[in-house]
């Protein structure tokens, strides 16, 4: 038995029976990182010493009979979730040496539950990208084919789970940044309802869209991580004081009575790879066979979502990223003679081209005379998309859709074509604009052997339904059991 291959649930069972220790498990993960991360490139920072110390604490607490499903489990975090005393770069040179004096609320929760924080994972700089190629530090390779991207922006989080360099991870999703890399790397990834998980300590990209969520080896693990990180946080005014159910209670067999909506518009979207549409179609049939009833629904404003998203997200980002000015922390360019020059050179050298592109886009959209035409209009589109979903959910429980139009593309293939990259978010960003939850669950492989994900979306705070459908599908198919060869 290879310890690093365990799921959270399996590892927990062994820990509870004291057949393994958290220190064994953590050491196995650290060894695995040493062996394969040179090829994959998922980690920006590995906190070996702190991880081993946390594992020791976990073992002590297990020996005293105190354990939660996460006690002693090695978890890794996307590098925009602040960790006290552990460098948090957001994938950017501008925060290369930033060590937060505080833990994000989700980190506090994980630590309270006894999880071991292994390290920080690569990402597109400030979560802006769909391939992790915009990291300020390095490329992450898809474990299924090292010449391909892992997806993004939580590419490190997906690749680390897929290559067993952590038992589970957290990422963040602003327009698909959890679901798309999960799909590309063949793991489970959930974007929770906006307000379900505290954003305190999540370095902001677009505050009204960002949400932290788990990336895991299977649906059960995803539910276990959600149990830990969900819930109202007084430090985040946008988190919602809504009851958090035990998400594992939804992991039961049978989909009888469940109505699944199939959006008419998604099948006619241009540029979908036939392997993706085949896999999704087969998945829909499978779910039908499991007892669910399919209905056709309509999300008529989908095509405007991309435009609205690429106004709202950069607008918020242009403001959120203003604090990186070289004055207080992070990178400051020394080679200048005035305040204005310091701002300009610090931000020109500290931010990569994609981040600068979006700051310029957002600054322009919010400018006097353009605000109404861009930000104002985009907000109206957002309202229409919310209405689309409300109407659709009158006739169905969950919506099934592709995650990304294609499987993982080759590294460098889209570098000069940001617009095509933006358009590839079409199936995922609607959920962010509407604030609803969405999960990506493995649903097959392309002719080239690349993983493909199925997206399931539900009403606000109905993550339970996602788990139910995803769990039944996973149990009936077993795509999650296949591992990449490294």
């Amino acid at each position: 038995m290879k310890l690093y291959e365990l799921s959270i649930q399996e590892a927990h069972r062994l820990l509870r029976k004291k057949e393994i220790s958290s220190q064994d498990l953590t050491r196995a993960i650290l060894d695995r990182i040493n062996t394969v991360d040179e090829a994959v490139g998922a980690y920006i920072t590995v906190g070996s010493e702190t991880a081993m110390a946390q594992a020791e604490t976990a073992d002590k607490s297990i020996s005293e009979g105190r354990l939660t499903p996460l006690t002693g489990i090695p978890i890794a975090l996307k590098d925009l979730i602040c960790t006290k005393g552990l460098r948090t770069t957001c994938g950017s040179k501008i925060l290369e040496n930033f060590i937060p004096p505080y833990d994000a609320s989700v980190v506090k929760k994980l630590k309270k539950d006894g999880a071991v924080i292994v390290g920080k994972l690569n990402m597109d700089e400030f979560a802006m990208g769909s391939s992790t190629e915009h990291s300020g530090f390095k490329l992450t390779h898809n474990p299924w084919d090292l010449t391909r991207i892992p997806g993004g922006s939580s590419g490190g989080s997906a690749a680390a789970v897929a290559s067993d360099m952590c038992i589970g991870s957290l990422g963040s999703d602003t327009g698909g940044s959890i679901r798309q890399p999960a799909s590309h790397c063949g793991v489970v990834g959930l974007k929770p309802t906006y307000g379900r998980v505290s954003r305190f300590g999540l370095v902001a990209f677009a505050s009204s869209l960002d949400q932290i969520g788990p990336l895991t080896k299977d649906v059960t693990d995803c539910a276990l991580l959600m149990n830990s990180i969900s819930g109202y946080d007084p430090a985040d005014s946008t988190s919602v004081p809504e009851h958090v159910p035990d998400y594992t209670s939804f992991l039961e067999n049978g989909l009888k009575g469940m109505v699944v909506g199939i959006p008419r518009e998604y099948s006619t979207t241009q540029g979908i790879d036939p392997d993706v549409s085949d896999a999704v179609e087969r998945a829909v049939k499978k779910i039908e066979a499991l007892g669910a009833e399919p209905v056709e629904i309509s999300l008529p404003h989908t095509e405007y979502g991309v435009a609205a998203y690429y106004v709202i997200a950069p607008s918020e980002a242009s403001s959120n990223l203003a604090r990186y000015d070289g004055v207080k922390y992070g990178y400051r360019d020394k080679d200048n003679n005035s305040l204005l020059e310091m701002y300009k050179s610090t931000r020109s050298k500290g931010f990569g081209p994609e981040v600068q592109r979006r700051i310029i886009l957002g600054t322009y959209s919010l400018s006097a005379g353009y605000y109404d035409a861009y930000y104002g209009k985009a907000s109206q589109v957002r309202t229409l998309i919310v209405r689309d979903f409300n109407k659709a959910f009158e006739t169905c429980d969950v919506i099934l859709a592709p995650v990304a139009p294609t499987p993982a593309f080759k590294l460098g293939a889209m570098t000069d074509d940001p617009l095509t990259m933006y358009l590839s978010d079409i199936f995922t960003l609607s959920a962010n604009l509407a604030g609803i939850p969405g999960i990506s669950v493995p649903c097959g492989f392309s002719s080239e052997g690349l993983p493909i994900g199925l997206q399931i979306m539900a009403r606000h705070f109905e993550e339970g339904k996602l788990f139910k459908v995803a769990y039944n599908f996973e149990q009936a198919t077993g795509f999650h059991k296949k591992k990449p060869h490294l």
Binding site: L80, I81, C82, T88, C90, L95, F98, P100, P101, Y102, A104, R199, F200, G201, L202, V203, A204, A206, S207, S208, P234, A235, D236, S237, T238, S315, E316, S318, S319, L321, A322, R323, D325, V327, K328, Y329, L339, Y343, T363, L366, S367, A368, Y371, Y375
Partner: protein, 476 residues
């Protein structure tokens, strides 16, 4: 041509909550630099603001006191600009939907009352403080003030003279102090004012081009700067020129303003709703709880002082200029129900004493109980008015009750006619030359004899009785 100024004021009043508007750091003033800070007010990555409800309470008090409409749903917005004292690169303020709007307050100038409209009131956070090393190319920033709550009150352009501007500001300050929501101290910067000034041909017609005046650090300078600006604009127009829209900085040392930036250089703040804060919803219950907590405000109190205590307008206005002073006055009147007398002593001796020592009424060494006791002693003729001045000074020094001082120093007024008579006889005997002069027609010497008798009795003799006996013995 005769011109008429059109003036609007924007006032920033620091709210005296214990903690900052979006974090739990202390707002207290004067701590070592950057000690009242946390990741939130330092704008570190990933932190989020949480609204201090007390700030809303305080602002609602002001909104109710100035007859504003309260928006049941208001929004916070980000005002984006780069400056080293602004850690997030944006200030959280309110823009399109402020908490309150369309109110008014009443001012009185030379006996004439006038309403000044209030356009809007909103909440925002203060910025930090930059200091520059004079010897090295080095600037330092202190973030203690970052996130201290501010209330901005924007007036309608209803003000027509520098004096009205002064009266409006004083009224505003008096209200915030009455409400207990701000110190209202211009010199210390807890109460700041910018003025928008334009002029137009007297009567009516469209407004002229306005300029914005900044750095008005005292009531005196607000009026001076506006006068200067009116005069400056008049001269431009009379010379056939045009006023340009600009921001001007007042120099209090040179008593003049200079252009700071023109319209073209005006910032584009790229306001948009702050996605980190939910819309602020205010229900009836909240407003009702504020209304019941509002104290009697200065204009009402002044009117009541005039009606109830028969005080002249001037006295009533001065005595109600602060809640503490008004409370002091009323405590005295309760113990000694002669409002006229109390008003004279409070406005004369007491305020004279406090002003000379730079003390506020709260810190007065003479309590209302002791002052009214002193007035009773005079009223009951136990001491003379002259002795009372001495006793008052002793009270100011020691804070002791007047009865105790009078007893200890033997200052009780002598009203016994026989002992006064013997003192008068002593004086007349000693001053036989002056008595002769008096009898030869130098009647002005009467006052001299009174003075000598008072001296003889160490000021304790009742002056009326002294007069009577003197007149008697000098043979009238």
């Amino acid at each position: 041509m005769e011109y008429e100024p059109v003036i609007g004021l924007e006032v920033h009043s620091q709210l005296k909550t214990k903690t900052k508007i979006f974090c739990t750091c202390s707002t207290s003033f004067g701590a070592a630099p950057n000690t009242h800070t946390c990741p939130v007010c330092l704008g570190m990555p990933g932190v989020l603001p949480v609204l201090n409800k007390k700030v809303v309470d305080y602002t609602l008090r002001m909104a109710v006191a100035t007859h504003c409409e309260i928006n049941r749903e208001s929004r916070f917005a980000r005002k984006n600009y780069f400056y080293p004292d602004l850690p997030k690169g944006y200030q959280i303020s309110q823009y399109e939907l402020p908490i309150a709007q369309n109110g008014w307050l009443e001012i009185e100038l030379n006996g004439r009352k006038k309403r000044i409209g209030i356009t809007r009131i909103h909440m925002e956070e203060d910025a930090g403080k930059l200091t520059h090393d004079p010897d090295r190319p080095l600037s330092m920033v202190d973030f203690n003030r970052t996130g201290v709550p501010l209330m901005e009150i924007v007036s309608e352009p209803d003000i027509r003279s520098p004096e009205e501007a002064g009266a409006y500001l004083r009224q505003l300050r008096s209200i915030v102090r009455y409400l207990g929501i701000s110190d209202g101290n211009m010199e210390e910067g807890s109460f700041r004012c910018d003025a928008n000034v334009s002029i137009r041909p007297k009567g009516s017609g469209p407004f002229g081009t306005r300029t914005e005046l900044k750095n008005l650090n005292s009531f005196k300078h607000v009026e001076k700067a506006i006068s200067f600006e009116i005069h400056r604009q008049k001269e431009i127009l009379e010379d056939g020129g045009q006023v340009i829209q600009e921001t001007r900085l007042w120099d209090p040392d040179k008593n003049r303003s200079t252009s700071m930036r023109g319209k073209e250089e005006a910032h584009d703040y790229r306001y948009f709703p702050d996605p980190d804060l939910l819309p602020l919803v205010i229900d009836d219950h909240w407003i009702d709880s504020i209304k019941t907590a509002i104290p009697e405000l200065p204009d009402k109190k002044k009117k009541r002082f005039m009606d109830e205590y028969a005080l002249p307008s001037y006295n009533a206005e001065l005595l109600t200029s602060s809640r503490e002073l008004a409370d002091y006055f009323e405590a005295c009147v309760e113990a000694f129900p002669n409002p006229k007398q109390v008003s004279n002593w409070v406005m004369g001796s007491l305020l004279g004493l406090l002003n000379a020592q730079g003390m506020s009424i709260d810190a007065s060494p003479i309590s209302p109980e002791n002052l009214s006791q002193l007035l009773k002693l005079i009223d009951q003729k136990i001491i003379s008015g002259k002795i009372a001045k001495t006793v008052f000074e002793e009270m100011a020094h020691t804070g002791r009750p007047p009865k105790e001082i009078v007893a200890k120093k033997g200052l009780v007024q002598v009203t016994d006619e026989s002992s006064i008579r013997s003192a008068v006889l002593t004086v007349l005997h000693r001053c036989s030359k002056e008595v002769d002069d008096y009898k030869n027609g130098k009647t002005k010497l009467f006052g001299f004899f009174v003075g000598q008798v008072m001296k003889e009795t160490q000021g304790k003799a009742n002056p009326k009785i002294v007069n009577k006996i003197l007149k008697n013995l000098l043979g009238e």
